[in-house]
């Protein structure tokens, strides 16, 4: 905390309700110059509503906004920008087919000459220079001529931050900025944030990830059910305390698990090679033996072949060469249904694209693997009452928060959507579980629940292949850890002996364990 006497921004007694739901209840919030204030809360705690009020997308029912101790009225995002408030949205507000320069100009374009109004020539050169200068000043290097669609997620986020700076914001709202970033990109973002603070900006950082709260915050405001339940600072608090504040009960932050008792080999992968759609080899000579009752975690920076490996394994992507054996049966290039019937469950990386049919009800999504079989069907007709009965059972068992079994699954929160998939996949008789990014974007409560289920499955003798970009998740769940880099398994480590630094080195390719082939033989 640098300049603690006068807040640059104050929200006084802000209330907002939607129908009968009180999304924000008399919220008090102060932001001081040159600080990072974290707004912590679970999904649905009212963080986004509050920020939308501040950014002019919603109007508060009650309360006032003060900027530099003067009351202001913010009607729309343009007003907010005029008062120096800029927002980096969770879903990027960038046009993919335009260049970085064009994206920054959009809405307030510089032109050469003023005679033709909106039909004057765009002054790309000047803006380009301004972007380079801004990038220099804040340590945000991007190529102004690159198309946004060609940028990585981290780079696109840098463009979003640049855009906010370009428009002259002094107060920057970052809405769950790390949800889409790799651990490396997250570190880079934190560095950028520090440089912004040094240059006199103030930041509101919205998140539900406890770990990053402590490393970036100057002060912390915790929201629960639309109310402020605490103001604190990292030095006065711990992850456990924050979790209690945020969730309202004790939460297990690291999964508790006993020793594993590995049994016979369930999954055997021999010299697997997979080609991506563009013809590049993305999985190279991959070897793995996975036993019943163990969790094998695959760590790695995203895009190093993990997704293709999982897709090849589950029959969604053709195998180029090599062999896949499940319980000794050759299932190389078998169809997804054959793989499923062999006792494999798959929790895919992108739950909305590959895990669920968003336009279907919760009940229907729960039987996507078994709709054609008794008791749900006799081969000709399906039996709605059986489907409904099954849905009620699963909803209770897996604590899926949905208004009814017939609600569209698209209306559920991310955590509950993931629970629908877990309920569907875990409750069949399975012996192999392939699970990719099981907790991405989920709140603490859901993460705890899903981790518990994964460990229960292991203890019941299921072989589990876990892929995650969250190193903490890998470390807390796995019995053995493999690291993938550039499509290859570069290291295999017993989880008890693994440490973060070492894994980090393998993940970035700066270290390479003994070659695969030697180790297997």
């Amino acid at each position: 905390m640098k300049n603690n006497n006068q807040p640059i921004l104050s929200l006084n007694n802000i209330s907002k309700s939607f129908g009968s739901l009180l999304a924000n209840d008399s919220i008090q919030f102060d932001l001081f110059p040159q600080e990072v204030q974290v707004l912590l809360g679970e999904n649905g705690a009212g963080k986004s509503t509050l920020m939308k009020i501040l950014y002019g997308q919603y109007q508060a029912d009650n309360g006032e906004i003060l900027i530099n101790e003067k009351p202001v009225i913010i009607r729309d995002p343009n007003d907010a920008l005029r008062f120096g408030i800029g927002m980096v949205h969770q879903h990027f507000m960038l046009v993919p087919v335009m260049t970085v320069t064009e994206n920054l100009m959009l809405g307030d374009e510089k032109t050469k000459g003023k005679w033709f109004g909106k039909l004057a020539r765009l002054d790309r050169e000047t803006v380009r220079k301004e972007i380079l200068a801004l990038g220099e000043k804040y340590g945000l290097q991007v190529n102004p001529d690159a198309l946004v669609e060609d940028l990585s997620v981290g780079e696109a986020q840098r463009v979003e931050i640049l855009k906010v700076l370009y428009k002259g914001a002094d107060i920057i709202i970052l809405d769950e900025p790390t949800a889409v970033l790799t651990p490396q990109e997250t570190e880079e973002l934190f560095a950028i944030m520090r440089s912004l603070i040094q240059q006199g900006k103030s930041i509101i950082f919205i998140t539900h990830k406890l770990k990053e709260v402590l490393s970036v915050a100057d002060r912390i405001t915790v929201l629960r059910n639309g109310k402020v339940v605490g103001h604190t600072t990292p030095s006065e608090s711990s992850m456990e305390e924050l979790a209690v504040l945020m969730v309202g009960r004790e939460v297990l932050l690291t999964a508790e698990k006993g020793l594993s008792h590995p049994d016979g080999v369930v999954l055997q992968i021999n010299d697997l090679c997979v080609k991506a759609k563009n013809g590049m080899i993305v999985v190279k000579d991959f070897n793995l033996q996975l036993r019943a009752g163990e969790i094998y975690g695959i760590a790695g920076v995203q895009g190093n072949g993990q997704s293709e490996l999982i897709e090849a394994l589950t029959g969604l992507h053709p195998v180029f060469s090599g062999k896949l054996l499940i319980n000794g049966r050759d299932l190389t290039n078998a169809s997804p249904r054959v793989v499923t019937l062999a006792g494999t469950a798959h929790v895919p990386e992108d739950r909305q694209k590959h895990g669920l049919v968003l336009g279907f009800s919760v009940a229907t999504n729960l039987i996507l693997q078994e709709y054609y079989r008794p008791p749900f069907s006799n081969g000709w007709l399906i039996f709605p009452e059986k489907i409904e009965e099954n849905a009620r059972k699963k909803i209770a068992e897996f604590d899926i928060r949905t208004p009814s079994p017939d609600s569209m699954v698209s209306n559920l929160s991310g955590g509950n959507q993931q629970k629908v998939i877990v309920a569907r996949e875990f409750s069949r008789p399975i012996n192999l579980l392939v699970i990719n990014q099981p907790t991405r974007g989920l709140d603490v409560g859901s993460i705890e629940f899903i981790h518990k289920r994964i460990i229960e499955a292991r203890d019941a003798g299921v072989a589990i292949l876990l892929v995650s970009a969250e190193l903490d998740e890998i470390l807390s769940l796995s019995d053995r850890i493999g690291v993938m880099y550039a499509g290859e398994l570069v290291a295999e480590i017993d989880a008890n002996l693994a440490d973060r630094e070492q894994l980090g080195l393998y993940m970035t390719g700066s270290k390479h364990q003994v070659s695969q082939r030697e180790k297997i033989t």
């Binding site: 949205h89 507000m93 100009m105 959009l106 039909l119």
Partner: protein, 378 residues
Amino acid sequence: MNTHFMVALMTLAIIKAAPLVYGALCGLLNERAGVVNIGIEGMMLAGAFMAFLGSALVGKWTGGTLNPNISLVIGLLIGVLSSALVAGLHAVLSIHYKIDQVISGTVINLLAVGITNYVANVYIDPTHLSGVGVFPVWKIPILSKIPVVGPILFEHQPMIYLLFGLVIFLQYAVFNTPWGLRLRSVGEHPQTADSVGINVIKTRYLNVILGGALAGMGGAIMVLESVGRFQKLMTSGRGFIALAVLIFGRWSPVGAFAAAILFGFAEALGVRLQFGDINHLYALSMIFALAALATSLFWLIMRIKTKKQKGKSYPVIITVFIIGLVSLVAANQITFPKVSVPIEFLGLLPYVLTILVLTGLVKRAVGPAAVGQPYEKQ
């Protein structure tokens, strides 16, 4: 084929291409703003009909005392305004009421056919309403004297020159002005446009209606610079070909113009071959050769332009080029037997070309991302 013949053919190709370009520019403004418009056909038909009715009635009521060119200009304005009005209907249905845009376009096509046919049956045909002629050809001094290029480009009626100007202007405006940047952002990612204070709904309305005006010109040009009267269903699918032209031209005005020339050429050739003074087989093999050459060139340009390793590989491009070259030489060496292709088949040429272009060449063309999706504020 001598020079004189080719010049006449190319001139005709431009004339035949003009309605397609106007139609494609209509589609361009619509789709760049994120609205699908398969109602171009109906808008063109409405424009043609009202342009005729307007000019003919003005001529009739003034009893021939008015300069016919003034009647034609008035007719043009009425035609353009009417199709803008029809486009307004499309805008209200698809933007305000969020009706599926394909359905809304279909409604417009059916409506235009029904109304124009009806009025033609009950009024134009029984009263033998006659037009006031067509716009005269303006030879541009000096420029029209340039050999080959001069007569092809600079001996036309005024609406063709207007079109040249529009294509050049829109090419500049869509890609190099704040207006164009905003238009494209609305069609690609309306949430982003909204987040920086651009009024998505207004932008869409404005461009759909402007597009309608352009489609109206495309219809009007067929009456006012060609046949001089209204015939039922006279657009005969040109609004749909215009969509193919738009896609083939990759949603850019100059691209659409180039693509339209190809279609115009096919149509002109179909017309020209009906005279019977050219060996049909020879002509068709020449087309094949030229098409192969043009295709390989197109692929080459796309490959160089995109820089990414996309598109056809070089061996494929070279093979097609060689096939084109060989058939070009062969066509001029062989004496073809005299075979007459029926007129109906020659008339098919532009439509066959449409199918070929849409299925083959532009399979992977990607349009504006938000096309067809009504915008809902979050």
